[in-house]
């Protein structure tokens, strides 16, 4: 079945080609654009399913197709594609979620004037991501990585006319660049050490013993550098600032970024180059992995906390994404790669669901995004409500029925057995609580209680938007079938182990723990926010209960812990000062030098001119006069009349002729 890998390149090629074609379409051909994009995605989905099927045949299959890109000297730079369970699962998830999002955006962007451009970018985005997934060379992966970045930039800033959108796009681009810088350094270093960028190359790829042996100790640093890139893309702690701002883009874009493509890339990258991280591990712990763990923990907690105090429906989801990514990072860090990826996949489904649901809400509320202005929407938009509730349950990890729950359990399970320390485990538990809390808050605000300003004119979204929601909701539920510990099919599939069914494993302590935790979170949420949005005792309607109780803390959280401000004060201010300084240097110091030279030149100039005036000119004038006269004479010949020239030519020809005749 490994022949499939030879045709793997088609999966990214189809959407990319589609996007190129769409770009060439005029703005009037909206229908064709959408149709093309969706068709491209469907084809990609079909191909991905084929690839997936191929991997099902052989457990733990890893088919590789390498080719030489170019050769310099005796060095050959080789690229390649790989098909393994990781890639296949990602492919399937991305294409499926992507398809839903595409269909959804047909409805969501219906009134937008740059409809075609939007779909071109969408196809481009998903194509780039697919390429990233199947890349078997760190370089190729990096290329697609940057393409993904570009696509995200284009899409976040899709509404260019909005300055905030443009700013957000820039922020996203630059922030991720900072990460990619480290990534690229890592790539270079890796190439310098191991001489190959291929992951799997029959034993001497850089992720196989052959390559890893060459790396030795530097593996840690390379891994960390690469992790910079991952952190940038999937919004880990120092570089997470761009992700919430990315909400400026159209909601389907946010869905795509958060669920399927952009942020998944970071986690996927770590999972892909996991051998680098874990090389030289003492019972599954390396320094690089520890860093990953702690960064993940920080991110998860911080984001969850911030999410509690946000008012924008999409920002809340954004921060939840950040925290979920942190969760995945932790899981990867503690060695639960499969768990992390499983959560990534599950998260892909339900986060897309949530975002599209939020999009549907926003669409229904005519562009209102402030949850305080909504409320009581469950009657108005039932489909959205039900699906959104499912998504919320999945996200907050309600066990047994929702995919999110199982994957979270897996992760907690993995975290609990981390030898280094137990702190991450407990912190993750707290994170789960917080997640449940803020999701409860949001859903109460949006769907329950009294109808507030924006909810008055609200309406349910058209079918083209609700269908994807339903599909994704079903995915979010039935995806859990392959996740249960009773039948951990996906886990087995990813790790390549055989799978067997044991109902007993269902009843493990972790189940009850998470039940308790999630229950606590939801309960607390309901208790706090039962009267949210309505005046309660002496609390006015506009004020959040938590804000009422703890204004300082709430403010701290609402201002995102002043991280942006901190960056403004510190990094940006510093660069600003540098700029000013160099500007000053330019203005005064260098300029002064130049002026000085100029002055010297002038002095010389005056001297020489005087010499000229007195001495040389006298002679020159006559010459010029002569030349001018000659010029007049010449120009007289240029009568500008064709026939004169023609006559001249004729005479010349005659002269030549006579000459020849005379010589002959």
């Amino acid at each position: 079945m490994s022949w499939v890998v030879d045709y793997l390149w088609m999966i990214p090629a189809v959407p990319l080609a589609a996007s190129l074609v769409i770009l060439s379409l005029s703005n009037a051909r909206r229908k064709n654009a959408a149709a093309l994009a969706v068709i491209g995605q469907v084809v990609a989905l079909a191909l991905s399913v084929l690839a997936f099927a191929a991997t099902l045949q052989v457990p733990g299959l890893r088919a590789v197709r390498n080719f030489t890109w170019f050769t310099f000297g005796e060095q050959t730079l080789r690229l390649g594609f790989v098909l393994d369970p990781l890639a296949a699962a990602m492919l399937a998830m991305i294409t499926l979620v992507g398809l839903c999002i595409f269909v959804f955006s047909i409805g969501y962007m219906a009134e937008d004037k740059n409809f075609t451009r939007f779909f071109a970018y969408l196809s481009f985005f998903s194509g780039a991501m697919l390429g990233l997934v199947i890349a078997n060379s760190l370089l190729l992966l990096f290329v697609f990585w940057e393409l993904v970045g570009l696509a995200s930039y284009l899409l976040i800033g899709f509404w260019i006319e909005k300055p905030s959108a443009a700013a957000a796009a820039k922020k996203a681009f630059i922030t991720t660049r900072i990460g990619d810088m480290g990534f690229f350094l890592g790539v270079l270093w890796l190439y310098g050490r191991s001489g190959t960028l291929l992951f799997y190359d029959g034993g001497n790829g850089c992720l196989e013993n052959g390559g890893l042996a060459m790396l030795g100790a530097s593996a840690t640093f390379i891994a960390l550098l690469i992790f910079c890139g991952a952190a940038g893309k999937s919004g880990q702690f120092p570089l997470h600032v761009w992700l919430p701002d990315a909400m400026e883009g159209p909601t389907p874009v946010s869905a795509l970024i958060h669920a399927a493509t952009m942020v998944a890339a970071g986690v996927f990258l770590v999972a892909r180059v996991y051998p680098l991280f874990s090389s030289g591990a003492i019972n599954g712990v390396t320094s690089s992995l520890t860093v990953v763990v702690w960064i993940g923990v920080t991110t998860a907690l911080m984001a969850a906390l911030i999410a509690i105090a946000q008012e924008d429906i999409k920002r809340i989801l954004a921060y939840s994404t950040v925290s979920q990514l942190g969760l995945m990072m932790v899981s990867l860090g503690v060695g639960g790669v499969a768990a992390g990826i499983m959560h990534l996949l599950a998260h892909g489904f339900f986060k897309a669901l949530l975002f599209l649901g939020a999009g549907s809400v926003i669409h229904g509320c005519h562009g209102e995004q402030d949850i305080r202005k909504m409320g009581g929407l469950r009657g108005i938009m039932p489909v959205t409500f039900v699906t959104y509730a499912i998504g919320m349950m999945a996200l907050s990890g309600v066990p047994l029925f929702f995919s999110g729950g199982w994957t979270k359990e897996e992760i907690l399970h993995a975290t609990a057995h981390w030898p280094r320390s137990h702190a991450p485990y407990y912190l993750m538990l707290a994170g789960v609580v917080l997640t449940a809390l803020y999701m409860t808050r949001q859903i109460i605000y949006v769907f329950f209680g009294n109808r507030r300003a924006a909810a008055e004119r609200a309406h349910e979204s058209p079918r083209v938007m609700s269908m994807p929601l339903i599909v994704l909701a079903l995915c979010a539920i039935f995806f859990s079938v392959v996740l249960t510990p009773a039948w951990p099919w996906l886990h087995a599939y990813l790790t390549g182990e055989p799978v067997r069914f044991e109902i007993a494993r269902l009843l493990q302590p972790m189940l009850f723990i998470s039940l308790a935790v999630v229950g606590a979170g939801i309960g607390v949420g309901i208790w706090i926010y039962r009267k949210a949005g309505v005046p309660d005792r002496d609390r006015p309607a506009g004020i959040d209960p938590l804000e009422y109780a703890q204004p300082g803390l709430f403010r701290f959280l609402a201002k995102k812990m002043w991280i942006d401000e901190f960056y403004d004060r510190s990094i940006i201010a510093f660069s600003w000062i540098c700029a000013r300084f160099s500007d000053w240097m330019d203005r005064y110091f260098w300029d002064g030098l130049v002026r000085g030279f100029g002055a010297i030149g002038q002095v010389f100039g005056t001297v020489t001119t005087s010499v000229d005036e007195r001495g040389i000119n006298a002679g020159v004038d006559e010459t010029t006069a002569g030349t001018r006269g000659l010029g007049r004479l010449m120009s007289a010949a240029h009568s500008g009349q064709i026939q004169t020239y023609l006559g001249a030519i004729a005479i010349g020809m005659l002269a030549l002729l006579l000459l020849y005749a005379w010589l002959a």
């Binding site: 006559g647 004729a650 005479i651 005659l654 002729l657 006579l658 020849y660 005749a661 002959a664």
Partner: protein, 160 residues
């Protein structure tokens, strides 16, 4: 017979050519130009190059002459006031003619009669065009296309 035909054709051709060069009415000049071309085609026939002759008639009478008369028509308002005649040009032309004649008569190696030659069939020409001269043929085709487009663009009226 040949000589007779030659003399007739030469007289017709040269007379027509002279008329084309000197007639006052532009239209008459153009028409006599066409006649002169027919004469030249007749010369080609006389020299056993029927195909070239036919091509000449076809291209010049069918296309170029029509083009010329069309142009005359389109620039008609101007035809009236082009009465000038530049005698300097006439002198130069006469000088050139003299020089040519002199040099032609001077070189005795030209006073030869035609050797016997098998008739040149169209098939041969076609074969030559398609084998030895295929690249020139392509180039000419390209040139004609370019000329056509260029001419179109030149005479295109600005529609605004």
């Amino acid at each position: 017979m040949n000589g007779l035909a030659f003399i007739l054709i030469a007289i017709v051709t040269l007379a027509a050519a002279l008329a084309a060069a000197t007639l006052r009415s532009l239209m008459h000049a153009a028409l006599s130009f066409a006649v002169a071309l027919v004469g030249i085609a007749a010369f080609f026939f006389l020299l056993g190059a029927e195909f070239v002759g036919l091509a000449l008639v076809f291209i010049y009478i069918g296309a170029v002459a029509v083009l010329i008369v069309f142009t005359i028509l389109l620039t008609r308002r101007d035809v009236g006031k082009t009465r000038g005649f530049n005698w300097g040009g006439a002198i130069v032309a006469a000088a050139v003619f003299g020089g040519l004649i002199w040099s032609i008569l001077k070189t005795q190696s030209l006073a030869i009669v035609a050797p016997h030659m098998p008739r040149l069939t169209v098939k041969q020409i076609g074969a030559a065009l398609m084998t030895g001269y295929v690249w020139p043929l392509q180039c000419v085709g390209l040139l004609l296309t370019a000329a056509l487009i260029g001419a179109l663009i030149l005479v295109l009226e600005e529609k605004q």
